[in-house]
């Protein structure tokens, strides 16, 4: 990020960035305004609240209650586990060029095509029969398992971008396949890992379907179920819904801010191409 690179950029990138930033922000402003309106004022979509109605946030917190904590307890380990299993599967698949490897990869990827809405009945039986129904551990397992195709796909592509020469050099130096993975490949994939961590944090944090199907009480019910609860059969409590939504995006944004550092660093800590 040297000064000269900044100087080389004309006004075009700025204009583009600002225009899109405005477009991206506008709906959010609507959400923020709504989160601060009383029920009577919500009938006027574009009005600015006459006074800030913090009650929506109080309601949001009250109704989310324990579920916010649950979501954290579900998401953090599940993100780690899902990335771990993705890496573990992706590594051999990135380096095995035989038919077996390609076939395994292909089969794993078909998993991405499965619509989750249809898995839920068999899944429910499965989770109940191993005693993990309505537990946070059960959700770790499910999120990890259902992340396999995507995380494998993602990491395999990232591993492929790490030059193969590095692998071969390491092997000649007597490095075993396993220690290459731990000592060289993973550190070289920092930017990929952190991007995946962000994507997985968001995916798991925002999961509604598994949370609905596999939890039944405050023991494990995630925040998304509480958020969906602000939209009832006939009525939607827009104020608290928006307040809860804004609150619930904070942890994902935190994850984003934490992990983005490492992909800004990118290759600096990487393969040194």
């Amino acid at each position: 990020m040297s000064a000269q690179t900044i100087n080389r950029r004309g006004p075009v990138p700025y204009t583009v960035a600002i225009v899109f930033a405005l477009v991206f922000v506008a709906p959010l402003v609507l959400a923020i305004l709504t989160s601060l309106k009383s029920p009577a004022e919500i009938t006027r979509v574009l009005s600015v609240p006459t006074e800030l109605y913090w009650q929506n946030y109080a309601t949001a917190f009250e109704r989310m209650g324990r579920s916010l904590l649950n979501s954290i307890l579900i998401t953090a380990p599940a993100v780690v586990l899902s990335i771990a299993i993705g890496c573990v599967a992706a590594y051999p698949l990135a380096f095995m060029h035989g038919r077996g490897g390609r076939f395994t990869y292909f089969v794993l990827l078909t998993g991405m095509l499965v619509p989750f809405q249809i898995v839920q009945i068999p899944l429910f039986f499965l989770i109940r029969s191993i005693g993990l129904y309505d537990t946070i551990g059960g959700l770790w397992l499910v999120h990890t398992a259902y992340a396999i195709p995507f995380c494998t796909f993602f990491m395999r592509n990232f591993f492929s971008s790490v030059p193969r020469s590095m692998y071969e050099a390491a092997r000649i130096d007597g490095c075993s396949a396993a220690s290459y993975f731990w000592r060289l490949l993973l550190p070289a994939s920092a930017s990929g890992l952190s991007a995946l961590a962000i994507i997985q944090s968001r995916a798991i944090w925002n999961d509604l379907l598994f949370g609905m199907t596999l939890t039944s009480s405050d023991n494990a019910r995630p925040a998304t179920v509480a958020i969906a609860g602000f939209a009832s059969s006939l009525q939607v409590e827009y104020g608290p819904l928006m307040a809860a939504t804004l609150v619930s995006t904070v942890p994902v944004m935190l994850a984003f801010l934490i992990f983005q550092k490492s992909f800004v660093r990118g290759l600096l800590g990487g393969s040194g191409k």
Binding site: R9, V45, I85, V114, N157, I227, R265, L267
Partner: protein, 303 residues
């Protein structure tokens, strides 16, 4: 692994690799294959989802569906979503990532803004865009009116000919953050020296992007395109939460139709058949792409 050099130690490597794969493959078998098989089994039956028994009817659910205009309409919608998802969020994400790559003042703020919508749950996205698209006083119509384009305002979510485009707009806002993020990470993985070299040779930023950066973005592009394609086929949340497939099926896609048939009409067998069709169609449309692209990465590696 037959063509691998027959050195001593390869077999150990193969064993290590097999060990790495054991757990993922086992989990996959339990959590994916079993549900797929049971879905296929259900699809051969007439079952309301409640009764204790189901009736075997062979492939009837499949041929009943194949005669329904409603089914084809959903398939077509999935296809147009596929085209949109491959082009829209991908192109915009790439543009934004390229614009922000390396040194734009306020880069961090822009990064947060572009990523933020992606973190919002579908229920809330639907509620927000219901206001954006409110046809008489919503955000979009009001903005258009204020800049003199009021006559072009549409009945965004209520006109069967417009609703899909409106939903795509919401999805563009919602999911571009993903493509942006992946491309951004990909751009960071491109060695600075290469760009410096291009600059010294007198390439403009535009030229060096297309000649140096873009080709090196293949792995990221494959991820984004692959996921976009899959999201397009599996699309559910945002459609269900915003329009439930309406008005009158206009915005219906296969996954929402499956849901409606299963739980809105108590036809589990037929809904399972829709899932199987979805799986097959997605397989036919997407798997060749993924297979081709995977090989491409492998090939470029081998060079």
């Amino acid at each position: 692994m037959a063509h691998m050099p027959a050195k001593a130690g390869w077999s150990r490597t193969t064993l290590t690799f097999a060990g790495f794969l054991a757990l993922p493959v086992a989990l996959f078998a339990v959590f994916f294959l079993y549900p797929i098989v049971s879905t296929f089994y259900l699809s051969l039956h007439d079952w309301d989802g409640v009764a204790q028994n189901m009736r075997f009817i062979g492939l009837r659910n499949y041929w009943v569906l194949s005669a329904q205009p409603r089914f084809y309409h959903a398939v077509l919608n999935n296809i147009s979503w596929l085209v949109f998802m491959l082009l829209g969020p991908t192109a915009l994400g790439l543009l934004l990532a390229a614009v922000l790559d390396r040194g734009l003042r306020g880069e961090r703020a822009f990064r947060i803004i572009f990523f933020l919508p992606f973190t919002i749950p579908a229920v809330a996205v639907a509620a927000i865009w219901r206001w954006v698209y409110e046809p008489s006083n919503g955000l979009l119509t009001t903005l258009m009116r204020n800049v003199g384009l009021g006559e072009f305002a549409q009945n965004w979510l209520g006109d069967p000919g417009v609703v899909n485009f409106a939903l795509m707009g919401a999805v563009l806002w919602w999911t571009t953050g993903f493509a942006f993020l992946v491309f951004f990470a990909g751009l960071r993985n491109i060695p600075v020296e290469l760009l410096e070299a291009a600059r010294i040779e007198g390439a403009t930023p535009w030229q060096s992007f297309w000649r140096v950066s873009f080709p090196l973005l293949w792995p990221s592009t494959i991820i984004v395109l692959g996921i976009s394609a899959i999201d397009a086929m599996r699309l559910f949340d945002i459609v269900w939460a915003t329009t439930s497939g309406g008005p009158a099926y206009a915005s219906e896609v296969l996954a929402t139709q499956m849901y409606d048939v299963a739980f809105g009409r108590f036809e589990m067998g037929r809904a399972s058949a829709i899932s199987v069709y979805l799986l097959l169609i997605a397989g036919v449309v997407i798997m060749p792409y993924i297979a081709y692209m995977s090989r491409r990465v492998a090939d470029s590696e081998a060079d």
